[in-house]
């Protein structure tokens, strides 16, 4: 049973405990940032920032809403990045947890192709082309701990568990959220292991909140590999 995370944005306060807890556990350096007229910083995910609370102020139904979206890798069930890479030494899925893992070998991949394959625009490259993104704190999970971000979350906006439990919880949370937010929805719950619950139109949170149509398209070679299934591994098409 793979693991999943539910991120219920309707009860997220944007405290960013998760964002720092991620850096803390992974020993990631801080980025040099500037205030550009918003509380959000850094402005985007990066090789050193796997988790980013995106903040948007929107007038919705005549009311001001401050939307927080703790963006991170969705750990797709069928991960296009993994398919695109086609190199288990660079990108692989931990079958015990479902976490999609990037290794140093990603340096050998075409970084832009991998980034372009992600429907959620998540992976980021270092100057040398090595790729990085959220690893679901796979080391913690294997040792019975929750991911650092989930542990830190004060309100319960982030929940971690077995996929079936999280799916059930997501359904319950959605029903609850709909009472306050009639347009509440889960984002691609069948396709990802990191499931977002949003109260409003997902595009208001970030451009890639839901799987984007113009991204993640499989190249011919990837599609072919998929079609051929396990044999592709041997054939290295």
């Amino acid at each position: 049973m793979s693991k999943s995370i539910l991120i219920d944005t309707t009860i997220c306060t944007g405290c960013r405990g998760c964002q720092v807890a991620c850096k803390q556990w992974h020993n990631l350096p801080a980025e040099k940032t500037t205030n550009v007229g918003s509380f959000q910083n850094p402005q985007d995910l990066s090789f050193d920032t796997y988790k980013l609370v995106r903040m948007n102020e929107e007038i919705i139904n005549g009311k001001l809403e401050w939307l927080f979206f703790a963006d991170q890798c969705r750990h797709c069930i069928d991960a296009p990045c993994l398919e695109t890479a086609f190199d288990e030494n660079a990108i692989y899925k931990d079958s015990a947890t479902g976490a999609v893992q990037y290794t140093k070998t990603t340096k050998k991949l075409d970084a832009d192709e991998i980034i372009g394959s992600c429907p959620y625009n998540i992976p980021r490259k270092a100057v040398d082309g090595t790729l990085a993104k959220c690893d679901m704190c796979n080391d913690r999970i294997h040792n019975g701990l929750k991911p650092a971000c989930v542990t830190a979350c004060p309100t319960g906006a982030m929940q971690f568990g077995d996929r079936d439990e999280i799916l059930a919880l997501a359904g319950q949370r959605l029903e609850k959220a709909k009472k306050k937010f009639p347009k509440a929805m889960l984002l691609n719950p069948d396709e990802v292991n990191v499931i977002y619950l949003v109260g409003f139109d997902p595009e208001l949170y970030t451009d890639y909140a839901v799987a984007s149509n113009d991204r993640g398209g499989l190249s011919r070679s990837v599609a072919l590999r998929k079609m051929m299934g396990p044999f592709a591994k041997m054939m290295r098409v």
Binding site: I11, T13, G14, R16, Q19, P29, K32, N35, G37, W66
Partner: protein
């Protein structure tokens, strides 16, 4: 907090006003969210839409400095719509008290006012004019029907009849429909069994009417029956990890540990001191807890001076300093005196006044007058390095500075007390970095050297120094356990108390055992029970909840007083001892009953506020062996009428010292007539001045803390909030031609600070009468030392040196500024 963090989950309606809990106390939202999941309403009132507002059911804005108008309107609404809790108000508050004939209120002034031309206090009241009428036995006269025109209840009704929706809306800038929605929603907690809570912080205290802001809400909480109950209370969200403990231990001029009074010069003997500060009640039903004052003061003296404190030398009472009657020695007064060259030596220990003091330019300038300064901190800071700050010339500054490196909290052992009064023990992880040392070691070592200097070299009045008990060491190092035990207190000789022999040198079980004869010591009576023969109570870790299952966790850590998690909890039950709220009850009487009378004493749940019988038997007959629930008040009642305050027994709206309006809509008293205003060259103020047209306020963000000294040196936090900023509305930005993200100047009558403009929908201009009033906000987390660019400065350079008459806390939440493009 009268209640505590976890208890917020028991609330039916949470009002967050004067604080921004989601950002500044983020983990509190664990419990706000839990309450909301169970159906509680969250109301947020703030000049600016914050991360707290983003989660609120009801959000509305008010102009900074108009909280009393806003809440005064709520009092009127509650009274006129008969939404107060009649039974509670009549039984437990002083609403039925009869106020004496001398009381009066006219055009913004209460009876007994005298103006003070010399300052810094603008004026004062003869509070005897506000006294209650007493019966022949010296017990307050009451009318439980609340109908008598001289009752507190009727006077309150009359006072707030002026706070009509039109006037309140005109003053606060809050739309009338929003006022009604907030009033209606919150007043619904007046229903028996419902609980409303208030989460406030510096947004209420930092005003010239700070104390009265809180009193207004306390009155509402009393009227609605929200005090003492689960999910209720008056909850100050304290901002520093141990600001509760450091207040309890009274690192403050006016109080001694445990909220005892600093002696006045006129208290010329221990006896005179105890007599002066021990209140007397003639009512047998009043616990009047402070009647125990002499036990606490004598035990404290025994802790100060140990064996050398004897009955013959008044336990060393005269070794300790006295303050002049009527004089004030507060923060403001320290720096005013320092500015004038009257202070020579200065300790800034774990504090950064160069950025945290209001009117920080004056604070920084004052330091140039010092001969020496000791600055103890974990980072270099704007205080210790003031001599090389912006605009200074080191070659002209005489001050010697000693900067001592302190250990970080995780490098040492000891306890801190959270906002919910929970004392919690911390352990050492790593050793102190480099040559840094725990503060405790530095204090001990410095004390040793000073004591030695006096022992060897003599000196002026050396008795208190050489006799100071100073044995908080083990193997030459500071031992926090020894200090913690001293705070709890010991039996200093074999003594029989409550029929039990207590051996000399054993720890006192609780403050009920403290004595006036020197047979006990206790460094702080409120903490007596925290470290006993059973061990260190603050280190407890049990996750077992109490039988009432409301999140008290009585054996996790320890809280004062005597581990009572919700104070005034005797008000959570009716006079017969039955909980108002049957589900989330705090305590209930479980004694035996016979023929309609209680015949044995037993309370269950939280530690009750006194274990006496309930006020009434099950058959309704009154008991003579009970006590009124508000045991810390002389008469035992919650104070809707507060005759002890400097600025009046009822809160009244006055404008901030610096404000955007030319007239106070409620009276011809513009500013609090007892406000404290300083008047050196460095204390410029400007009200209704076209040069400073916008209301300014200060606040914090989630990612930094206080002056930023413990967050600005950290790259992870600087990544999140890298620059000093000013938030403003889109309308104001347009008016000034300011683009989002560009650097601007914010200027007040005192100074100017460069900021990054955040142009946001979260600030909106206020409609104040026919005028549009703009407000801006600045965080006070920055200072020139970090980041090293020196470009990010303290918001306190802008704030005024004017304050509340009760506390002298500065008015940093409402002042006037201008914003201009660079």
């Amino acid at each position: 907090m009268t209640n505590h963090w976890i208890d917020i989950k028991n609330s039916d309606c949470i009002l967050i006003m004067g604080s921004n809990a989601a950002e500044n106390h983020p983990i509190s939202f664990k419990y706000v969210t839990q309450a909301m999941e169970k159906g509680a309403k969250l109301i947020n009132v703030d000049p600016r839409f914050t991360r707290t507002s983003s989660k609120a059911d009801i959000y509305t804005a008010l102009r900074s400095g108009t909280d009393i108008a806003f809440l005064g309107g709520m009092i009127k609404y509650i009274l006129e719509n008969n939404l107060y809790n009649h039974e509670y108000t009549a039984a437990y508050t002083n609403a039925p008290f009869i106020v004496g004939e001398a009381y009066g209120f006219k055009d913004g002034l209460f009876a007994g006012y005298t103006k003070n031309e010399e300052g810094p206090s603008a004026g004062s009241y003869d509070k005897s004019k506000w006294a209650f009428e007493m019966d022949a036995n010296g017990v307050p006269k009451l009318d439980r029907t609340l109908k008598n025109k001289k009752t507190v209840f009727q006077l309150m009704k009359e006072h707030y009849s002026r706070y009509d929706l039109d006037t309140v809306s005109k003053v606060t800038g809050t739309p009338k429909e929003d006022l009604i929605e907030v009033y209606k929603t919150y007043a619904a907690t007046g229903k028996t069994g419902k609980a409303g809570t208030i989460m406030y912080a510096m947004g209420w205290t930092q005003h010239t009417v700070g104390t009265q802001n809180i009193r207004t809400m306390a009155m509402i909480q009393l009227m609605l029956g929200n005090m003492g109950v689960a999910g209720g209370g008056v909850n100050a969200l304290r901002g520093e990890s141990n600001v509760q403990g450091s207040t309890d231990h009274c690192l403050l001029w006016h109080i001694w540990p445990g909220y005892l009074k600093t002696p006045r010069a006129s208290n010329n003997s221990l006896e005179a001191y105890n007599k002066k500060w021990t209140p007397k009640s003639q009512d047998p039903l009043s616990a009047n807890w402070w009647q125990n004052y002499p036990k606490y003061s004598v035990s404290l003296l025994k802790s100060f001076f140990g064996k050398t404190a004897t009955k013959d030398n008044q336990f060393g009472y005269n070794w300790l300093p006295k303050v002049d009657d009527g004089s004030v020695y507060s923060w403001f007064d320290i720096f005013d005196s320092m500015y004038k060259g009257d202070v020579k030596g200065f300790f800034a220990w774990g504090q950064n006044p160069a950025c945290s003091g209001s009117n920080a330019s004056k604070v920084r300038k004052s330091m140039e007058e010092l001969d020496w300064m000791v600055n103890v901190n974990i980072f270099d800071n704007e205080t210790g390095s003031f001599w090389k700050g912006p605009g200074t010339d080191a070659s002209k500054i005489k001050t010697e500075v000693f900067m001592l490196p302190a250990a970080v909290s995780v490098e040492k052992e000891g306890s801190i007390t959270n906002s919910g009064r929970w004392m919690q023990w911390r352990y050492q992880g790593p050793k102190p970095l480099g040559n840094s040392r725990p503060d405790g070691d530095i204090i001990m070592e410095l004390g040793q050297r000073i004591k030695e200097a006096y022992k060897k070299g003599g000196g002026v009045f050396k008795d208190p120094i050489v006799n100071l008990k100073w044995d908080y060491e083990t193997n030459g190092a500071y031992d926090p356990h020894k200090a913690a035990k001293e705070i709890n207190g010991y039996f200093t000789k074999d003594v029989t108390v409550k029929g039990k022999l207590c051996k000399k040198g054993t720890l006192v079980p609780s403050f009920a055992w403290l004595q006036t004869d020197g047979s006990t010591s206790s460094g702080n009576w409120l903490y007596c029970n925290s470290y006993t023969e059973k061990g260190n109570m603050s280190a407890r870790r049990s996750q077992q909840d109490a039988p009432n299952n409301i999140g008290l966790y009585p054996e996790f850590a320890w809280c004062w007083p005597v581990n009572r998690r919700i104070i005034y909890n005797r008000a959570s039950v009716d006079p017969k001892g039955r909980p108002w709220d049957k589900k989330d009850w705090v305590i209930k009487f479980a004694g035996e009953e016979k023929d309609g009378k209680y015949v044995s004493k037993k309370w269950i749940g939280d530690v009750p506020d006194g274990g006496w019988y309930p006020l009434e038997n099950p058959d309704g007959s009154k008991r003579k062996d009970s006590k009124h629930p508000f045991i810390m008040r002389k008469h035992g009642f919650g104070q809707i009428f507060g005759p002890g305050r400097a600025d009046g027994p009822f809160p009244e709206h006055y404008e901030p010292l610096e404000c955007p309006v030319e007239k106070n809509s409620f009276s011809s008293q513009m500013v609090n007539p007892t406000a404290v205003v300083y008047n050196t060259k460095a204390d410029a103020h400007a009200t209704c001045d076209p040069r400073f047209p916008f209301v300014g306020t200060t606040y914090r963000v989630s990612e930094h803390w206080q002056t930023g000294l413990m967050t600005r040196p950290q790259p992870w936090l600087m990544e999140l909030q890298p620059n000093m900023f000013v938030e403003m509305s889109e309308e104001l930005a347009k008016l000034r031609g300011i683009k989002n993200g560009e650097r601007v100047n914010v200027t007040s009558a005192r100074s100017s600070v460069e900021c990054t403009a955040i142009v946001t929908k979260r600030f909106k201009p206020f409609k104040i009468g026919y005028a549009t009033v703009h407000q801006v906000g600045v965080p006070w987390h920055y200072g020139w030392r970090w980041p090293a660019t020196g470009t990010e400065e303290s918001a306190n350079l802008l704030t005024p040196s004017a304050g509340d008459p009760n506390t002298r806390i500065p008015e940093t939440k409402a002042f006037m500024v201008n914003v201009t493009k660079l």
